[in-house]
C-alpha cells in the first residue's frame, strides 16, 4: 500500500515541522488558551475559534493552523471539565459527558472522572492522528458516499438510540425527544426559505442556538433546583466531603479500557462524516456501553464507563473531522469552516491539493495534533486538583459567577440580547423538568439531530422525486434503517421487557 511506504518520510517531515521551537510554542499557546477559554461556561470551540481567529492572521500559515488546532482541542478538553464539574456542556457532544460525569462529581469522584476523560481523549486523539496519517484520503472518499438518504437513516438510528440516554421512565424520555424535535423546527426551513415559529424575530431566523438551550436546561436549571435544597442538604456537601482519591483506581482503569477502545472506533467512524460526527459518536458510545455493561443500572448514577466511552468517541470524532476538511476542503462543522477560512486568509486555497502542494503544512498539522493532545494531558492532569478545589467554593459565590459567565458566553455567540432572555426561558423550563424528573439529554439530542434529519429526509425525497424506497435500496442507508428497526424491536418486544426495564428504567433514579 502506497500510504504505508510514504508514511514514514511524511511523518518525519511533519514532526520536523511541528517540533520547531516556534511551532511548539504556537501549539502550546493554542492548547493553553483553548483550555482556559473552554472552561468558561457557554464558550465552546466554535465561539473560541471565532474569537481568536484574528489573532492568527499575522502568523505564518503553519503556525496559525497549528495554533487554531490547539485551541480546538483545548476548548474541547475544557468543555469536558465544565460538563463534569458543574453540569455545563460547552457543545452538543459534551451533553453525554454531563450525564454520568456530573453524577460522579456529585459522588465525590470528580477527580477520576476528569482524569479518565483526559486519558480517554488522549488515547482517542492518538488513534485519530494515526488514522488521518494512514487513511485520510480514502476515508474522505467514504464520507462522500454519504448522501441525503444515508444521513437520514443514520440520524433516525441516533434518535431512537437517544432514548437510551434516559435513566428514568421511557415515556418521559420519548416526550422529551418530541419536545426537542419541536424546538429544532424553529428557524428558516432550508427547502422553502420560510420561517417557522420565529414570531417575527429576526434573531430566531437561524433557529435556537444550541448554547442557549443547553445552558438553560443544564446550567440554569441545575442551579435553580439546587438553590431550593438549601445549603445543608445540598449535594455540595457530598462533593467536598467524600473525595477519597483524585486519580482513578486500578478498578476504574480496568472498567474504562473497553469503553475507550470501543468509543475510539465509533468516533473514528462517525467523525469523518461531515455533520453531527462528535455528537452522534458520543451518545452512540454511551448507548453501546450501557447495553454492554454488567450493571447497566449504574448508568446515570456515575458510571465511569459512561464518561470514558463518550469522551474517547467525541475526541476521536473531533480529530477525524479534520479528514474531510484537510483532504477535500469540505468543512464538517462550523468550527472546521472557520479553520478553512483561516487557511484562505493565509492565501492557501483549501482543497485536495493542499496535501501535495504544501506537504509541510499538512503533515506538520498532523504531527502537531498528536503533540497538542499530549500537551493537553500533561497540562490537565496536574490541574485536576485545582478544578476539584473549585468545587469547594461556596454556593453563594460559585452560582452567581457561573450565571454571569454563562450570560457572557451566551451573548458572545451572536451579540443578541434575545439569546440571554431565551436562556432564562430554558432555565425555567429546566427547573420544571428537574421537578418532573424529566431528563434533558434526550431533548437536547433530538434538538440537534431533528433539523439534520428533516433536512436530509426532504432532500432525499427531492432527489428521488418523492420515491421513499431510496432509503431501502441504497445499501448504506438500508443497513442503518435495519439497525434502527432492530433497536426499536429490542425496546418494544415484551419478552425482553425485563432486560429493557433494567436498561432504561430505574424508578426514582434522579
Amino acid at each position: 500500500m502506497e500510504s504505508f511506504t510514504s508514511l514514514l518520510p511524511n511523518l518525519a517531515l511533519g514532526f520536523q515541522t511541528a517540533v520547531s521551537l516556534q511551532n511548539l510554542t504556537y501549539c502550546f499557546i493554542g492548547v493553553f488558551v483553548g483550555t482556559l477559554v473552554g472552561v468558561l461556561p457557554g464558550i465552546g470551540p466554535l465561539a473560541a475559534i471565532a474569537m481568536l481567529l484574528p489573532a492568527t492572521f499575522n502568523l505564518p500559515p503553519v503556525g496559525a493552523l497549528i495554533m487554531l488546532a490547539g485551541i480546538y482541542y483545548g476548548t474541547q478538553y475544557g468543555g469536558s471539565t465544565t460538563s463534569i464539574l458543574v453540569n455545563l456542556p460547552g457543545e452538543s457532544a459534551s451533553v453525554v459527558t454531563c450525564i454520568d460525569g456530573y453524577q460522579m462529581a456529585k459522588n465525590g469522584r470528580a477527580g477520576p472522572a476528569l482524569a479518565i476523560a483526559a486519558i480517554g481523549s488522549f488515547f482517542a486523539g492518538t488513534v485519530g492522528t494515526i488514522l488521518i496519517a494512514l487513511f485520510g484520503p480514502p476515508l474522505a472518499e467514504i464520507a462522500l458516499k454519504f448522501g441525503a438518504p444515508e444521513y437520514f437513516s443514520l440520524m433516525s438510528m441516533g434518535l431512537i438510540a437517544s432514548a437510551v440516554l434516559a435513566s428514568g421512565s421511557m415515556m418521559k424520555a420519548i416526550a422529551m425527544i418530541f419536545l426537542g424535535l419541536l424546538f429544532g423546527i424553529v428557524g428558516t426551513d432550508v427547502n422553502s426559505g420560510m420561517s417557522r415559529f420565529t414570531f417575527g424575530m429576526s434573531g430566531l431566523a437561524d433557529g435556537l442556538s444550541f448554547v442557549v438551550v443547553a445552558m438553560g436546561l443544564f446550567g440554569f436549571g441545575e442551579i435553580l433546583s439546587n438553590l431550593e435544597k438549601g445549603q445543608e442538604v445540598s449535594s455540595r456537601e457530598l462533593l467536598t466531603k467524600k473525595i477519597d482519591h483524585l486519580y482513578p483506581t486500578w478498578q476504574d482503569l480496568k472498567l474504562s479500557i473497553g469503553p475507550i477502545l470501543r468509543g475510539t472506533s465509533i468516533g473514528a467512524f462517525f467523525g469523518t462524516l461531515p455533520g453531527a460526527g462528535p455528537t452522534i459518536s458520543a451518545f452512540s458510545s454511551y448507548a453501546l456501553e450501557k447495553k454492554m455493561a454488567k450493571h447497566p443500572e449504574e448508568f446515570g448514577k456515575g458510571a465511569i464507563q459512561g464518561v470514558a466511552g463518550p469522551e474517547a468517541a467525541n475526541n476521536a470524532a473531533a480529530q477525524c473531522a479534520f479528514i474531510p476538511t484537510l483532504t477535500l476542503g469540505i468543512p464538517g462543522s462550523g468550527t472546521m469552516a472557520l479553520i478553512l477560512g483561516a487557511l484562505t486568509i493565509q492565501g492557501i486555497a483549501p482543497g485536495p491539493q493542499v496535501m501535495t502542494q504544501r506537504p509541510e503544512l499538512f503533515w506538520g498539522l498532523i504531527a502537531s495534533m498528536w503533540i497538542g493532545n499530549a500537551m493537553l494531558v500533561i497540562l490537565n492532569l496536574p490541574l485536576i486538583g485545582l478544578w476539584v478545589k473549585l468545587l469547594s467554593v461556596p454556593y453563594r459565590i460559585l452560582f452567581p459567577s457561573i450565571m454571569v459567565f454563562m450570560a457572557i458566553g451566551v451573548y458572545s455567540v451572536n451579540n443578541l440580547d434575545l439569546d440571554i432572555y431565551m436562556t432564562v426561558f430554558f432555565g425555567l423550563m429546566g427547573y420544571v423538568f428537574v421537578k418532573l424528573k424529566c431528563e434533558p439529554a434526550p431533548l437536547i439530542l433530538a434538538f440537534v439531530l431533528g433539523p439534520l434529519m428533516e433536512e436530509n429526509l426532504r432532500r432525499a425525497l427531492l432527489i428521488s422525486r418523492g420515491d421513499p424506497t431510496v432509503f431501502f435500496t441504497r445499501p448504506i442507508s438500508a443497513v442503518f434503517l435495519g439497525l434502527t428497526i432492530l433497536l426499536l424491536v429490542v425496546m418494544i418486544l415484551p419478552n425482553i421487557r425485563k432486560k429493557r426495564d433494567v436498561a432504561f428504567r430505574e424508578p426514582d433514579a434522579a
Binding site: 466554535l46 465561539a47 471565532a50 474569537m51 481568536l52 481567529l53 484574528p54 492572521f57 462522500l144 458516499k145 454519504f146 448522501g147 428557524g187 432550508v190 427547502n191 422553502s192 426559505g193 420560510m194 429576526s202 434573531g203 431566523a205 437561524d206 433557529g207 435556537l208 442556538s209 444550541f210 461531515p274 453531527a276 474531510p324 477535500l328 476542503g329 469540505i330 468543512p331 462543522s333 462550523g334 468550527t335 469552516a337 472557520l338 478553512l340 477560512g341 484562505t344 486568509i345 492565501g347 486555497a349 483549501p350 482543497g351 485536495p352 491539493q353 458572545s412 455567540v413 451572536n414 451579540n415 440537534v448 433539523p451 439534520l452 433536512e455 432532500r459 427531492l462 432527489i463 422525486r465
Partner: protein
C-alpha cells in the same frame, strides 16, 4: 451542526472592538475632509468570519485603516441571509464611522426575495464603490456525460426534470445563477438546496447531484484537481485562473452574466466629503497591484466604480434578479 453554521463571528467583533481602543497610529490628518475619521471605523460584515465576504472585507479594511490613520474594525453580524447585519448598518449613525460591505446577496437578492426586509437597499444607503467581484463557475460531477455547456444543455433537454443541481440554500446566489441558466437555455434541472457552499460542493463531489453553479473560491480547487469538471464561467470575460474554460455567453447565451460583487456602503445621510474621501481611498486600495494579487488568490478580481455607476448597477441587478426570483417562485418569509 446546522445552527452552528451561522457561526459565532460576532464574538470577534467584541474582541476587535477592545483592540480598537488601543491607540491607533494617529496619522496626520489633512484639513480636507474635516479630520474624518476621528475614531475607529466599524465595518459591518453581514456574514460569519472566515467566509469569502469577510476575507475581502478584512483585506481591504486593514489597508483602509492604515491609509486613514484609524483602525477599521470588522464586526461580523451574520444571520438570516445577511439581512441582520445589513439592517444594523442601515440604522447606524451616518457619520462615516460605520460602513458595511454590501454584496449581491445583501443589497439585491435579499430585498427582492424576502417578503419583509427592514431596510431598503437604495433609500437607506449611500453607495461608495465596488471593490471586487467573484465569478460563478458551472461545475459538473465528472461522471456526468457532458464536456461543455452545449453537451450539458443537450443532456438536460433529453431527460427533462431528471438532473439535479445543488445550491448553498434557497434564495442564494448559487440557486439564482442556475435558475437563470435554466431559463436562458430552456432546461429543467431541479434545485436541491443545501446548507452552505461546503455541503453543496460535497454533494457534487460525491455525485449526489450532478451540477453546481458555485462561487469561484469554493469550487476552483476541486476543478483544478480534476475532481469536478468546470464547463463555464458566468462572467462576461474568461477567468485568468481558468483560461481554457469558456464563458456562458460565448457558449451560446450572449448577454448572460452572473457574478457576486462586493462593495462599500455607508448609511444614508453620510456627509458628501466623507464619501468622496472613502471613494478615493478605496478605489486606490482595490486597484493597487498587491491587493489585486490578494484578490486573485481568493478567486476574486478587483472592480471599482463611482457612486453613480453603483446606483445604476443596483437598479439593473434588482431588475434582473427580481425577474428570476419571481419566475422561480421564491419568497422568503
Amino acid at each position: 451542526m446546522v445552527m452552528q453554521n451561522k457561526v459565532a463571528g460576532a464574538v470577534m467583533g467584541a474582541l476587535l472592538a477592545a483592540a480598537g481602543l488601543m491607540p491607533a497610529s494617529a496619522g496626520a490628518q489633512a484639513a480636507g475632509a474635516q479630520a474624518y475619521p476621528t475614531k475607529p471605523i466599524r465595518l459591518i460584515v453581514a456574514f460569519p468570519a472566515g467566509g469569502s465576504t469577510d476575507i475581502i472585507a478584512r483585506l481591504v479594511g486593514q489597508r483602509l485603516g492604515e491609509k486613514l490613520g484609524q483602525q477599521v474594525i470588522v464586526d461580523n453580524r451574520g444571520g438570516a441571509g445577511g439581512t441582520i447585519g445589513t439592517e444594523i448598518a442601515a440604522q447606524a449613525t451616518p457619520d462615516g464611522h460605520t460602513l458595511t460591505m454590501g454584496t449581491t446577496s445583501t443589497h439585491v437578492i435579499a430585498p427582492a426575495a424576502y417578503a419583509k426586509v427592514n431596510y431598503d437597499p437604495v433609500k437607506d444607503f449611500e453607495p461608495i464603490t465596488l471593490v471586487a467581484s467573484t465569478p460563478y463557475l458551472l461545475v459538473l460531477n465528472p461522471g456526468v456525460k457532458a464536456n461543455n455547456l452545449k453537451e450539458f444543455v443537450a443532456l438536460a433537454k433529453s431527460q427533462p426534470g431528471k438532473l439535479n443541481f445543488a445550491s448553498a440554500g434557497t434564495g442564494s446566489t448559487t440557486q439564482l445563477a442556475m435558475e437563470m441558466l435554466n431559463r436562458a437555455a430552456g432546461m429543467d434541472i431541479v434545485h436541491i438546496p443545501y446548507n452552505g457552499n461546503g455541503p453543496a460542493g460535497a454533494a457534487v463531489l460525491g455525485g449526489q447531484v450532478q451540477a453546481l453553479f458555485g462561487s469561484m473560491p469554493a469550487v476552483l480547487p476541486h476543478a483544478q484537481a480534476g475532481r469536478l469538471r468546470a464547463i463555464a464561467v458566468g462572467t462576461s470575460k474568461r477567468s485568468p485562473a481558468l483560461p481554457n474554460v469558456p464563458t456562458v455567453a460565448e457558449s451560446g447565451y450572449p448577454g448572460f452574466e452572473v457574478s457576486l460583487w462586493l462593495g462599500f456602503f455607508a448609511p444614508k445621510g453620510t456627509p458628501k466629503p466623507v464619501l468622496a474621501k472613502l471613494q478615493t481611498e478605496l478605489t486606490a486600495i482595490a486597484n493597487s497591484p498587491d491587493m489585486k494579487a490578494q484578490f486573485e488568490k481568493n478567486g476574486a478580481s478587483a472592480v471599482t466604480n463611482t457612486p453613480a455607476e453603483m446606483g445604476q448597477l443596483m437598479k439593473s441587478e434588482l431588475d434582473k434578479y427580481g425577474k428570476v426570483i419571481k419566475a422561480a417562485g421564491i419568497v422568503l418569509k
